[in-house]
C-alpha cells in the first residue's frame, strides 16, 4: 500500500469512527432525554423532552445512515444502532450517565447541545467553503442530492446522506434546543435557593464528564470528533460558548475537575449495558421486524 493510500485509509478509518461515536452519543442522549417523558415536572417539559429527543434521535439516525454508507463492511443503520454490543458502542460518558434531576437534564443539554452545535457549525462552514450553496430549487448538481435509505424502490442504488446535509438540517434544530436549555439554566440558577443549589451541584457533577470529551478532542481522538472537523477548534469554540452561557446564568464551572471519576470503567460499562438493554430490546427480540 502506498503512503498516500495508507494515509487515506487511516483518515477514512478515523472518520468512520468519529461518525459512529457521534451517532452513539446522540442516540444515548436521546434515550436519556426520552426517559423524562412521563416524569417531567410539568406537561410542557414532557412535550419539550419528547420533541428534543426526537430531533436528536433523527439526527443520530441520519448519522447511522451515513456511517453505514461509508462502512467498508456491509451493514445497515439499524444494525449499527441496535446490533452493537456494549463494548462496541462509543458514546461519550456525558450522554450515557443518567440525569439525577431536572437541573442535570438542562445543564447536560446545554453542555452536549453546545457540542453538537459547534460541531455542526464547523462541518457546515467547511462545506460552504468548499462549494457555494446550491439554489434552493431543483438543482441537480447538489452533491447531497443522493438517494438515502428512504427511497421506496428497493433496486435503487442506496447511498447515505452527506455529513454537510445532516449538519444543515441539524443546525436550526439544535439552536432551538439550546435556547430552551439556556433559558432553563438561567432561570434555575437565578431562582430559589433550592434550584440554585441543584444547578450548582449538577454543573459540579457533569463538568468533569464534559471535560473528558473536550480533552479527548484536544488530544485528537477520533471518537471525540477528530476526523470530522478540526478537533482543537471544536474544543476551543465549545468552551467559549459554554462559558458564556454559564456566565449569563451566573454559574461558574469547578476550577479543577474532580481527581477521580465517580464511577470506574466497570461501573460505567454496567450502566451503558443497562441502557442498551432497554434501547435495543425490541430490535433484538424481533430481528428484522418492520412495521
Amino acid at each position: 500500500m502506498s503512503l498516500r493510500a495508507a494515509s487515506a485509509a487511516a483518515s477514512h478509518g478515523s472518520r468512520a469512527v468519529a461518525v459512529l461515536a457521534l451517532a452513539d452519543t446522540m442516540l444515548l442522549h436521546a434515550q436519556r432525554i426520552s426517559e423524562w417523558v412521563g416524569r417531567a415536572p410539568m406537561l410542557e417539559e414532557e412535550m419539550a423532552s419528547a420533541n428534543i429527543a426526537l430531533d436528536i434521535l433523527g439526527q443520530a439516525s441520519r448519522l447511522y445512515e451515513h456511517a453505514a454508507a461509508i462502512s467498508e463492511e456491509s451493514t445497515s443503520p439499524d444494525e449499527l444502532a441496535y446490533g452493537r454490543d456494549v463494548d462496541a458502542v462509543r458514546a461519550a460518558w456525558l450522554a450515557v450517565d443518567a440525569d439525577r434531576d431536572f437541573a442535570e437534564l438542562m445543564i447536560r443539554l446545554l453542555l452536549l447541545g453546545t457540542w453538537y452545535a459547534t460541531l455542526w457549525d464547523l462541518v457546515d462552514a467547511e462545506a460552504s467553503a468548499q462549494a457555494p450553496p446550491v439554489d434552493a430549487g431543483t438543482g441537480t448538481s447538489d452533491p447531497a442530492a443522493a438517494p438515502d435509505a428512504g427511497a421506496l424502490d428497493p433496486t435503487a442504488r442506496r447511498r447515505g446522506p452527506s455529513l454537510a446535509g445532516i449538519a444543515s438540517k441539524a443546525r436550526p434544530e439544535v439552536a432551538y434546543h439550546l435556547r430552551h436549555a439556556g433559558m432553563w439554566v438561567e432561570r434555575l440558577a437565578g431562582g430559589t435557593d433550592e434550584s440554585r443549589a441543584r444547578s450548582e451541584a449538577a454543573l459540579a457533577r457533569l463538568w468533569p464528564m464534559a471535560l473528558e470529551l473536550v480533552d479527548a478532542a484536544r488530544s485528537g481522538q477520533a471518537d471525540a470528533g477528530a476526523g470530522l472537523v478540526d478537533a482543537a477548534m471544536l474544543a476551543d469554540q465549545w468552551q467559549q460558548r459554554v462559558l458564556a452561557a454559564l456566565d449569563t446564568a451566573g454559574l461558574v464551572p469547578p476550577l479543577a475537575p474532580a481527581g477521580t471519576p465517580e464511577m470506574d470503567a466497570a461501573a460505567r460499562r454496567a450502566t451503558l449495558a443497562e441502557v442498551l438493554a432497554e434501547l435495543q430490546h425490541v430490535a433484538r427480540e424481533h430481528p428484522g421486524a418492520t412495521w
Partner: protein, 190 residues
C-alpha cells in the same frame, strides 16, 4: 418543471402532511423536484425529490408512502429521493400554505427564530421577561391570534404537539393556538 411533470405536481398537491391535514406537501415546500422519464419500452418512471422538515419528523415516512401509493396508480415506477441540503426552511411554505395554516387555526411562521445569543457569547433575556406560561417562555413578540387577530399572545410552551409547532394563548380572546415555528439556519435572514 417540464410539461410531463405538471400532472405529477397536481397529484402531489392532493397529498397533505398527516400532522397538518390542511396543508398539501407542495405548499409545505418539501417537494423539491419532479422528474419524469420513460425507457425504451415506454415505461414511465417518476422521481420525486423531497426534503424533510425536521430530522426526526415521523410524518416523513408516511408522506413517502403516500407519494408512492398515489403516483403508483398512474405511473410504472415511482422513486422518492430524500435530499437534505439545502435544508428546508419555513420560508419555503407558499403564500397559499400560510393562508391555509391560518385558516385551520395555526398561526403561520412570521419572524426569524432568535438564535440563543448567549450560546454565541451575548446574553439571554433578563429574568422577569418570561411569559406567563409554566415554562420559561421568553417574552418574544408573539404571533397574531389566528382566531381573533389580536397581536397579544403569550407562549405557553416552546414545544407543541409536533416538532414544527409551539403552543400559545391569546391574551385577548383567551383561546390557545398552535404556532408554526419559524425555522431557518442560525444566522440566516428572513
Amino acid at each position: 418543471m417540464n410539461a410531463d411533470a405538471t400532472p405529477v405536481w397536481e397529484a402531489l398537491a392532493g397529498i397533505c402532511d398527516p400532522e397538518i391535514p390542511a396543508l398539501p406537501i407542495t405548499d409545505l415546500g418539501i417537494v423539491r423536484d419532479v422528474d419524469v422519464a420513460s425507457d425504451a419500452q415506454g415505461r414511465v418512471e417518476v422521481t420525486v425529490t423531497i426534503t424533510p422538515t425536521y430530522s426526526g419528523c415521523p410524518a416523513m415516512d408516511v408522506i413517502e408512502q403516500a407519494i408512492g401509493d398515489t403516483l403508483g396508480r398512474s405511473y410504472d415506477r415511482v422513486r422518492v429521493v430524500t435530499r437534505l441540503t439545502p435544508a428546508w426552511t419555513t420560508d419555503w411554505i407558499s403564500e397559499r400554505g400560510l393562508e391555509l395554516l391560518h385558516g385551520s387555526g395555526i398561526a403561520p411562521p412570521r419572524e426569524p427564530v432568535e438564535v440563543p445569543e448567549a450560546v454565541a457569547g451575548a446574553s439571554f433575556r433578563p429574568l422577569g421577561t418570561f411569559g406567563a406560561g409554566a415554562g420559561p417562555a421568553a417574552a418574544l413578540p408573539g404571533p397574531a391570534c389566528p382566531h381573533c387577530g389580536a397581536a397579544d399572545a403569550e407562549q405557553l410552551s416552546a414545544f407543541g404537539s409536533t416538532a414544527c409547532k409551539s403552543l400559545w394563548r391569546c391574551r385577548s380572546c383567551r383561546e390557545p393556538f398552535d404556532h408554526f415555528k419559524p425555522h431557518r439556519a442560525p444566522g440566516a435572514r428572513e
